[in-house]
């Protein structure tokens, strides 16, 4: 019985970690700034490619992953200043612009770096619980997903920078009147979102095929999580990831991957029909 329970918890944790890590960057950029970032997958790809390049140059993997996040974050800030900044309050235009960026990035990488890149291999080996063997690295990913949520919570709710960021998002004019450089806050927030996407790429790079289109495989899951979660990361995206992980791992264990995906998408349809503001909209609405 115990191995079966562990197996279920492991699969749940694996799905949860993927949903949280894949969607955090998107959730911040959408939740805090209202920008629907269709280039999210390409920030992930950027993080993955940078991580693997650095690791192949001999850097230890954790540092290489940090480098991947940093690179994606810097590029994110650059893009905020040059493109996104001019499209605030024009959500449809920003969708088209980020979609364009995503195509430029995918095709650019294909042309410059070729159609594939050799991977680095998953570190840390495996362990066995009752007849089943598991990858240890995946346990690390689960831990990182939880730490990431805790870290972001501390950042936004218990630091001065977090208060300023939330003030800027809620009442930009008042924040400006109080002396906040709101332009810089937007740049940094977008950069943080991009860096988190890069981190996702770096963390999953050792477990995946490195191709220019790899970001696309994160897109469905991250959008589904953010749509179900609604605007707030902690009240929305995190519980959404937990619920979706149960549905996904349960359905996949029962009937295979296809049903896992069907379950995921049916959940979205039901949730956006019943709770148009997502989970966080429902929780916050209930408070009023």
């Amino acid at each position: 019985m115990l191995p079966t329970l562990f197996s279920f918890l492991y699969q749940f944790g694996d799905a949860f970690a993927f949903l949280v890590i894949a969607s955090m960057g998107l959730a911040i950029i959408f939740g805090m700034m209202g920008v629907i970032n269709l280039a999210h997958g390409e920030f992930i790809m950027c993080g993955a490619y940078t991580t693997v390049s650095l690791a192949q140059l001999g850097l230890p993997l954790p540092l290489a992953i940090a480098g991947g996040a940093l690179a994606a974050g810097l590029i994110g800030m650059l893009i905020e200043v040059t493109v996104i900044r001019h499209l605030y309050n024009r959500p449809l235009d920003s969708i088209v612009a980020t979609w364009g960026l995503s195509m430029i990035a995918t095709q650019g990488v294909l042309i410059v770096l070729g159609s594939t890149m050799q991977g680095v291999g998953t570190p840390l080996g495996s362990f066995t619980v009752g007849g089943f063997s598991y990858s240890t690295y995946r346990l690390v990913l689960m831990g990182i997903a939880v730490l990431l949520l805790a870290g972001l919570y501390l950042l936004f709710y218990h630091t001065r920078a977090g208060v300023i960021a939330r003030a800027t998002i809620q009442l930009p004019r008042m924040a400006r009147a109080m002396g906040v450089d709101t332009g810089r806050v937007y740049t940094l927030t977008f950069g943080l979102g991009a860096a988190l996407a890069g981190l996702a790429g770096g963390l999953y790079a050792p477990t995946m095929t490195l191709v220019p289109t790899m970001g696309a495989t994160f897109m469905v899951e991250s959008f589904v999580t953010v749509v179900i979660g609604g605007g707030d990361i902690f009240l929305g995206a995190a519980p959404a990831a937990a619920i979706l992980a149960v549905i996904r791992s349960g359905m996949t264990a029962w009937q295979g991957q296809l049903f896992g995906q069907i379950g995921l998408l049916i959940t979205v349809i039901i949730v956006i029909r019943v709770l148009p503001g997502g989970l966080s909209g429902w929780i916050l609405g209930g408070r009023k």
């Binding site: 095709q107 690295y137 790899m214 991957q257």
Partner: protein, 412 residues
């Protein structure tokens, strides 16, 4: 592509008109070959090399005087791993570019997307990819290997070595579904048991639960029919979880060179039946790889489809030269004689008149722990016999249909 080809088109038109008025020099007209292959998107890693192989063959043929004195002109479009693009560009090459023949397609979904258009305009298309078999269509010539060449060899060999319990992990579209049916039939015919079958939607990259399902089913080996870059993540994840089961495949290594892309030993004990990969150790294969690398030094891998595309160019040349025209009926009349053969990178191959598929020498490639390749066995000269035996005879009728073991040609 846009303005350059427009200009070229205008020029060609001018040349054609001039040639017509002079009512001479018709023999100098270029033979136009449409090339629709994925140069971007999910399949690009496996298919960009096909365009280079076709270019290499065209340059060789042109340097040696063209096809019956007429130079080859390639009309190439990037189909972006997108079935809609195939339909769009197939219409364009047949209707407005008016090509003589089209070389098109990687995934079976893309082939089935464009095939009705080839039928509609009564064109001729070469499909240079291994696939799930069964296309009985006089507008199509298939140079890729089919299940009786890849599975009837591979699966019994694997069952003998690794036991009779088999698990199939297949991409969830026509290729994976029909290939899995072949595997199931062959396993059962050899007294084995399917202990599991799972179909994975294209684009899925996370395999945690599938890996566990496989471990629970305890197969002797896993048949991996995974397609596209996303699904290739399976090998890394299975290796990280220490699944450590032998694998058998008709698509991996020979197309997507996973053994070059992943860190050893994630593909250890992967067995693949293929008619060509760059590691094949014959003089013909070595010579092909050498001239390919001389022309395209940065090519990551010269795969099975590269050889098939190259071979297809020479088969087409031979048929046109024998028929003295590019007219499809005349070409098929040559093919029907049953002696359209070519001695190329993968040894001698011949086209089968009944099915318009190609015979192959099939190599069993084994990936070792350090990801080097060995060849435990070779099956010489296997004919694409299934369609003909099942009742497809394109020399008599053209049903333009795809058949499977569970829906064979209707008995007359």
């Amino acid at each position: 592509m846009p303005s350059g080809s427009q200009l070229a088109k205008a020029l060609r038109l001018g040349v054609a008109v001039a040639a017509l008025t002079a009512s001479a020099g018709l023999a100098q007209d270029a033979i136009k070959i449409g090339v629709l292959e994925d140069q971007s998107g999910d399949f690009a890693a496996a298919t960009m090399v096909k365009v280079n192989a076709i270019t290499l063959a065209a340059e060789e043929i042109n340097a040696a005087g063209g096809i019956g004195g007429r130079p080859i002109e390639l009309v190439t479009y990037d189909t972006q791993s997108d079935n809609t693009r195939y339909q769009e560009f197939m219409r364009r090459v047949l209707q407005s570019d008016k090509v003589d023949v089209v070389f098109a397609g990687f995934s079976s979904a893309s082939r089935e997307a464009y095939r009705p258009i080839v039928n509609q305009f009564d064109g001729l298309a070469f499909y240079n990819n291994q696939y799930e078999g069964g296309v009985c269509d006089a507008n199509m010539i298939v140079t890729g290997a089919v299940p009786e060449q890849q599975f009837s060899t591979l699966i019994p060999w694997m069952m003998e070595k690794y036991g009779k319990n088999v698990y199939t992990l297949a991409a969830d579209y026509n290729f994976g579904q029909i290939s899995a049916e072949w595997v199931r039939n062959i396993v059962e015919a050899n007294g084995g048991t399917m202990v599991g079958e799972e179909f994975i939607p294209l684009g899925v990259s996370q395999f945690g639960q599938s890996i566990q399902n496989i471990q629970a089913a305890k197969p002797g080996f896993v048949v991996t029919l995974l397609v596209g870059a996303a699904q290739a993540s399976y090998y890394e994840q299975a290796a990280a979880a220490n699944v450590n089961l032998p694998m058998a495949s008709s698509v991996n290594v020979g197309q997507g060179y996973e053994h070059k892309r992943f860190t050893p030993p994630s593909l250890k004990d992967m067995y693949v039946t293929t008619n060509f990969i760059e590691e094949v150790d014959t003089p013909a294969a070595k010579a092909f790889v050498e001239k390919f690398r001389a022309r395209f030094p940065d090519e990551p891998y010269i795969n099975q489809e590269a050889a098939n595309s190259y071979i297809a160019m020479y088969l087409y040349k031979q048929m046109v030269e024998r028929a003295g025209t590019t007219d499809r009926a005349a070409l098929l009349a040559e093919l029907a004689k049953g002696d359209v053969c070519f001695d190329g990178p993968s040894g001698k191959v011949c086209l089968d008149p009944k099915s318009q598929h190609m015979s192959h020498t099939i190599y069993l490639a084994k990936v070792e722990a350090d990801h080097s390749i060995s060849f435990p066995t070779v099956w010489e000269n296997i004919a694409p016999y299934w369609l003909g035996e099942a009742g497809c005879d394109l020399t008599k009728t053209d049903p333009s249909a795809q058949y499977t073991p569970s829906s064979p040609p209707p008995a007359n």
